[in-house]
Subunit: 350 residues, 2 copies
């Protein structure tokens, strides 16, 4: 029998972390009688006097959110990372190892209106978000080894406030995922003398099986090793290393790419599509200021949980937690659907 | 300022996979206005003529579930792994690596009655579950490198059928998590000449900060590196390597331990506590039949998602997916609560 990827289960290697993903496309037929998600709809009022992220509203700690007109950044009132804390004592027991963790956590509102999201904002407004990301990154990257810009969108992705916003958590150390990526990218570069992700972009442009969006500056693909059903990577085609080395033109194209991708996500299942997304680029801070970063390529990762509809998600549970990631449709099938769905007009716009 | 683990954020190393966890206990005060879980209550009828896991009911594929009286095992009607599939072609491109994956997926009912769960079953009935696990493991382990026994409990952990059951997925290869564990356990053994988890058990018995349940055969702790808020490890104290080398006495004590632990989980937030759990032990199959397994210790992992109540869970989303795991209370605080909560009488029993 001949191998057919859309019919026969197989594993694929994620070269960015060295982990395999089990692909079981024949499983898509399975009926679903489990948990139904509440489909995320955009039913927010433009202004909610009780929402602490809205302009002019008092937050639980007594501070008042500015009457901002574009983006707005403030320190997270309940940060997971603080700047000044004592370090845990050293231990010589290999089973009880603790280490210091310093950092800070900021909240960044995208827009004063609660009823907008990136796909329904204008390219100019999205440009303001990108500019603010860069401004924050510029400031935080002088001090911290890792600046994680990320957006949790939708209640099912743990987002506790419907106002359009993201978070920026900075760390005095390189966290697990970037550390692993740093090692893998570096070793690829040592072998091939080219950044892994620029080779990857070139291969995907040739193979043309997993492309969702392409323009001169950016490529969006469902990676060959995608774990989440409609996971995508948005990759720089210009050898950018960090978000703050983008030109004005590249930022402008990024705004258009983000708008198109997030419209596609919303149109796919006709809902305000939940996801977690974030940026990965070369590490920062004093300790990485003089290190080689030739192996890095700036990219964003989008992880939407939905599998079949606005109400049926993929659960990464028992087998996935204990053994390995598993997916039910091939990355090529997901890419085809995202490619085919309208990315110009949001399903709610008339 | 002196370091206090319950006040000051820090990182802890998981020696089983080499990953760090960010512990931010000062964050527990954060108000929650995000998604509310539907509390899982046990409101099933004893028998549901439309539930394919109930005795005598016809399944979607036309087969009829036996009129079973204890446990019952059948092949998953929509398996992620099949025994006979062609292998993907070899590739010499490091960015596009695929590999064969063969296996099988079974469903195992714990009891004929839909309205029972492990904490409400009798020790004798739980013993029957353990015996069936072993019977299945005996059969499958002759053929497969990895036999993953796991239970997804509760709709919020992706369980699509409320009837008490677990799954057994067998693989022709070692999946990611066991592979990583295999390497770490082996290298610890090479250095110290003792199994890592038996050293760990001894340390926990001395330190006495994270113990939830202890008896001559089993130790349940919230591991020092726990990721999920109330995560536990149930570890063999007898140098067992695989589930099928347990003595009758050890099985009996295991049934009591499982009952006590799952009663504690249900009593903690007064609900049928959701979790994913599963067993890890030495790899199997022809390729591991003659390999040294001295570095292994049989253990089960419990991953319940709840954080503060039956309706507020921990989300592993943006920062966790992109950077590293993060938790909001210390493992010692979680252990204390699990230790203190009643483990003898289920909150619903009169
Ligand atoms: O086979 P089930 O129970 O329907 O499926 C459940 O467990 C599987 C194994 O952890 C997961 O892949 C599924 O996402 C989950 O819904
Ligand atoms: O700070 P938030 O948005 O309330 O919290 C959300 O994002 C955090 C970072 O991914 C997670 O740790 C929380 O579990 C999630 O609910």
């Amino acid at each position: 029998m001949q191998f057919v990827a859309t019919e026969h289960q197989h594993r694929r290697l994620n070269p960015l972390n060295g982990q395999w993903v089990l692909v079981s496309p024949h499983r898509m037929q399975r009926p679903w009688s489990g948990q139904q998600e509440k489909p995320q709809l955009n039913e927010q009022p433009e202004f909610d006097p009780n929402n602490p992220l809205c302009p002019g509203v008092k937050r639980p700690n007594g501070l008042i959110t500015d009457r901002y007109e574009s983006t707005y950044v403030f320190d997270n009132d309940f940060p997971a990372l603080l700047e000044e804390v004592p370090s845990p004592p050293a231990s010589d027991d290999p089973l009880f190892q603790a280490a210091a963790a310093r950092g800070n956590c900021r909240v960044m509102c995208f827009h004063p209106k609660s009823n907008l999201t990136l796909p329904t904002m204008s390219p100019t407004e999205i440009c303001a978000v990108i500019d603010e990301w860069i401004k924050q990154f510029n400031e935080l990257s002088t001090k911290y080894a890792w600046v994680q810009i990320f957006e949790n969108k939708g209640a099912s992705m743990g987002c506790s406030n419907p106002h359009p916003h993201c978070q920026i958590w900075s760390c005095s150390f390189l966290p697990t995922e970037p550390q692993l990526k740093q090692e893998r990218l570096r070793s690829y570069y040592a072998t091939y003398d080219r950044p892994m992700l620029s080779d990857y972009v070139n291969s995907e442009l040739q193979r043309r099986e997993r492309i969702v969006i392409e323009n001169p500056d950016w490529l969006v693909v469902v990676p060959y090793w995608a774990t989440w059903p409609f996971e995508t990577m948005l990759i720089s085609r210009n050898n950018n290393k960090r978000i703050n080395d983008l030109t004005t033109e590249q930022r402008h194209n990024l705004a258009l790419t983000i708008k198109e991708l997030t419209i596609k996500y919303d149109n796919l299942f006709q809902c305000s599509c939940p996801y977690s997304m974030g940026w990965h680029g070369a590490p920062t801070g004093p300790e990485h200021a003089h290190a080689s970063i030739a192996h890095w390529t700036l990219h964003a990762l989008y992880y939407p949980p939905l599998l079949r509809s606005a109400t049926v998600r993929k659960f990464m549970v028992g087998f996935e937690m204990l053994a390995m990631a598993q997916r039910d449709l091939t990355p090529e099938q997901a890419a085809q659907r995202l490619r085919d769905v309208n990315g110009k007009q949001h399903y709610q716009s008339k």
